[in-house]
Amino acid sequence: MALFHKKKVNTEINLADGIVMKEPLHMETSSWLKNCMVKSLLVFSVVFGAIGCFLSSIDLEYYVFPTAVLLFAMALLFTTIYYRGWLMDLVYIVFLFIFFFLVRGFQPYINSGYYLIVNQVFEIIENYFDLPGMQYYEIAVSNELLAVSVIVVFVGTVMMIVANVIVSRTMNVWFLLFMTGFLWIMPMYFRLEPDSFFVILLVTGYITVWSIHSSGAYGMDRRHRDYKWKDKKGKPLRIWYVQDAATILQSMGIFIISVLLLYGITSVAGGKDTFNIRYRQNPQKEESEAMIQDISTRGFSMFDRYAATGGISGGQLGGVGSVRPDYQTDLIVRFTPYSMEPIYLKGYTGVSYASDSSKWLNYKETLQDSPDIIDMLEELYNSNNSQYSFDYDYYTDRNIFPSGLSMYENLIRQSEKVSGDYYAHGTMQIKNVGASEVYAYEPYYCMDGLMAGDIIVGGIRRNQWKSYEYEPVINFESDEEDLLFQWGQKEQAEILYLDVPEECYDAVARASEEAGITEQDSQEEIIQKVKDYFEEEFLYTTRPGRCPRNEDFVTWFLERKKGYCAHFATAATLIYRYNGIPARYIEGYVITYEDVMNGELREEFSYDSFYEGYSSLGETGVVDVEVTDARAHAWVETLNPSLGWRVEEVTTAAIDPEEELESFWDVFGSGGSNEEVSDDSDFMLDTMDLDFDDIQGIWIGLLIVLAVLLLVYGGKIGYFRWKKYRSWHTEDGTENVLAYYQLLSDNLRKREPAYGECPTYRKQLQYMESRTEDWSWNVDQLAELLEAACYSQAGISELDCKRLMLELSDIRKKTKKWKRSKNQRKPNIK
């Protein structure tokens, strides 16, 4: 911490006995500013070269020139401030603040840029290892080039800071290789080659760093001197220049030409294509690939391939080691709260479980996958229901999904409760902010479901609103059991929703047994027993690990007994089916009462226009609830003979003790802006509109930084004080006296420059006498003792040492009481 450390440096050098250099030696070296520029060029070539190698290898496009200019500007900033210690400390602190705010402001772009890179890497990995069903992050911004450029600038800036410290302090190529090596080595694993330009930039940077380090001329001199020196007794005086931009540039020029020529010759002689034709897979690499594949399928994956934007995996179960929401808003739901119960928004419906691909297939996929089912449905429709004929093209050509409520259930409700006390009718408007556009996110008991039969058509496009009319069932009971089945639904449900694949049949049967389910149990009892079984025996975790490739997802989960909602919903669905209850797997969002309470009250909308009828909360108001991807959820629907499809919440509340409670970004606020992201110029204004309650993490971080600084500062002061204390606590009494007097003198010299002009002990003591009001010591005596201690080889007696120490200690106390005066005249010392 250069801010706290200022040391006077003696500039006088003795070249020989009687030959002194009082002024600095002069060499023809470049100015410090030129040195900074060259050093920044060096830092830039290494960092940007490495980043460029990586991005060109994975074939990801971005704004190369503006990014390079920005990064070079950053490199120049950091190398320049390094030449002024206090400036460096100050700029780093200010930069830390600005960096935090910029990260917050650009978070959507940073996230998207990061996801783009990760998606690209995933795609490469997927293709290379032939991994099935990789999930990709959804990108929130439309300008992908800009997103990648932004992440490159941010990551590059951090790397620049580190590289600058390395280059300024040690010029060590090993550290730089350690820092940047993985960026260009990693793509090589997948047989990807970077662009020649970046290779030349990077290699030239490495060689120049090596060369400068070898010359020893990399030390920084904050007083902008041309050289440094070391003058130790018994050793030759060593003087070496600090840096010379001109020579470095000349060397860099030679290196660039050499690398360019050699690279060119290699390309022409060997040729990339010719070289690759001769490619033979290394057996060791093959082994490592097999090992990586194995590891990646056993749940130790370094890839969190959770679709953070949108939160719905579309029935995909395998290949995910952990989930980590980014807490970005996916949906905005505008409605009138009517109950404290959770509200489920249905997205994806899993009809049949495909064990081999660890996936829930939707209606269309199920029909495509199983011709038998089509036959059975055709037969069913033709025999039982003459009103409806089964049209395969209708069901498969459109993007269709079975809804949560069948037309029959609505008929029941209409017939029973339209005029009843608990009847309610509401409007719900849903805006898609960051969720997948494929799904409709429809609330239960929706009128649209009735119009489309058992099918919901289409999703909600990004940044668009969709309105639903629904009739929430608040306290609904019915004894009508036959209504449902007279339309042939029982048979259809048995065809579609009772299948348990062979691969997991035994595990499901075992789990059913462990849950204590018997043949005598009613449907309600079975449902409850499964819930209890999960609650007692299983743990919830967002990091369950990845199911191995050749293992069944459900079997694996039921053995390990820990997982997240998708695991529980899948297993429960199959257990219910095993016990004869038609059940299906659902993905969507769940809105809790807590979310509702945190929602924004929209007073401009009237309650009546959004809701009429019974409400357990009384007359509330219209609220906008922001639903983040953390509210993405999976649950089960079971078919109740009298109530239709009912939501069953089967995920346990028992959290795995090893579960990570907070991620890094949790500490530093809850995520990015909740406003929609656009690429226009208003973006910054929107996103910089921060709620300071949300960014308390930043303050905590800054407090930590401040605490560390104080600790370092305190530690440094303590260390120097300890060193000073040790200097006058040696075994040699005479040395102690002189050291103590030296400290006293140093202190006085700092306080009063006039004291520094007193050349001898006597004059210094006379000065002290003239400045001290109640001086009671004999100056001559003290001066003689000090002179004897300093100049006499024998030193002074132990008794004199002790006496002198006591007296000097008293004098020190007295001198502390000296009053400062602006008009203080210099004491007259003769």
């Binding site: 030959i19 080595i185 047989r191 080659e193 010359s215 020893g216 030759p236 003087i239 001109a246 020579t247």
Partner: protein, 356 residues
């Protein structure tokens, strides 16, 4: 040397690591890097050898005599006419005071720019008299990668003579000295002028008014002065002891001698510097009628060897020239005859006359 070996080992490690990556990944990038790593040392070594073969050295500085305490600049130019710069040019320089036979070696590492070279300027202040020598022991040019170097020697040194400070304040009783001389008799005959005119020249600032040749000046319409030479056959022998010890008395003896000599010359008193040469084991007499001769005398003096005995010169003078010969002895006060002619500094006393 150890560092160089470590660098070579480090380079081999990097080379091996890259070869390992090439073997493992079979990447064209690694192949290209390997080619670069093979040929770059060759380019680096050839380039540096070229620079070493063509480099030249040039000293610049004040070749006239300098005074003690005066600041001056010594410039060392290293010329590199070739197109290859050198990041690390190591010079081992000896800076010594040949008179005192003291010196120190220092090492300088500088860059040598391509086509230009480098200039090092020493802003030097000399605190002792003597013959100062700046000599390059060798120049070593290291290649870019720091794995080898080429050495050149440049034997020609740069030497500067440092005279004592002319401004040394001497408190001397010159009248007393004059009274003791035979020239006093002459002065009574010739109106206190005991010299004869040897030459007439144009006036120069600093010339005494009494030396102006008024008649000639009127005739030529320009001030002319008479240059005088002592008529006396007896010169003032200024004997100085070239002894030294830890207290560095010799510096004060030199200062004192130079101060007296300058004072004498200013007062038209001719003198001869006398010292005992430990090199040739004889007394050296150096006649100094002008300041230039005095400076030359000191230049010669700086080639002498210093001895340890405090009064060796005086004793040898007595032995060789007899005790009757008069001289002014400059040496340690404690070894004089107690009659102080003048004082200089805290340690040195000056004594006059034949020691009987």
């Amino acid at each position: 040397m150890i560092k160089r070996i470590l660098r070579v080992i480090g380079y081999f490690i990097l080379f091996a690591a890259n070869a390992g990556l090439l073997w493992f990944f079979h990447s064209f990038l690694n192949l290209a890097i390997m080619v670069v790593m093979i040929f770059l040392p060759i380019i680096s070594i050839i380039g540096t050898k070229l620079a070493a073969d063509h480099m030249a050295v040039q000293w610049n500085g004040p070749y006239e005599n300098m005074e003690k305490g005066e600041e001056f600049q010594v410039q060392l130019k290293l010329l590199n006419p070739v197109w290859v710069g050198v990041m690390n040019c190591r010079l081992l320089l000896d800076v010594s005071n040949l008179f005192y036979d003291t010196g120190r070696t220092h090492e300088i590492r500088i860059p040598l720019r391509a086509g230009k070279g480098q200039t090092i300027t020493y802003p030097v202040t000399v605190t002792k008299c003597g013959r100062m020598e700046f000599r390059i022991r060798f120049v070593e040019l290291e290649d870019f990668l720091g794995i080898t170097s080429f050495r050149r020697t440049f034997p020609d040194p740069y030497v500067v003579i440092v005279l004592p400070n002319q401004k040394a304040e001497i408190k001397a009783e010159l009248n007393g000295y004059m009274e003791g001389m035979e020239e006093v008799e002459e002065s009574t005959k010739k109106g206190s002028d005991f010299s004869e005119v040897q030459d007439v020249r144009e006036y120069q600032p600093g010339d005494k008014m009494q030396n102006i040749h008024w008649k000639l000046s009127v005739k030529k319409d320009i001030l002319m002065v008479k240059e005088r030479v002592s008529m006396s056959s007896k010169q003032l022998f200024l004997l100085l002891e070239l002894h030294d010890n830890e207290e560095e008395l010799l510096e004060e003896v030199l200062d004192c001698t130079y101060g007296i000599a300058c004072l004498m010359l200013q007062n038209q008193v001719p003198l001869s510097l006398v010292w005992w040469s430990a090199n040739t084991h004889e007394l050296v007499f150096w006649k100094a009628d002008y300041p230039e001769q005095l400076e030359e005398g000191f230049r010669m003096l700086y080639y002498e060897k210093i001895y340890a005995e405090q009064t060796l010169g005086r004793e040898m003078f007595h032995t060789l020239r007899g005790e009757e010969t008069q001289f002014l002895w400059v040496g340690n006060r404690n070894f004089g005859n107690g009659e102080s002619f003048m004082d200089y500094g805290n340690y040195t006393g000056v004594f006059y006359g034949a020691i009987s």
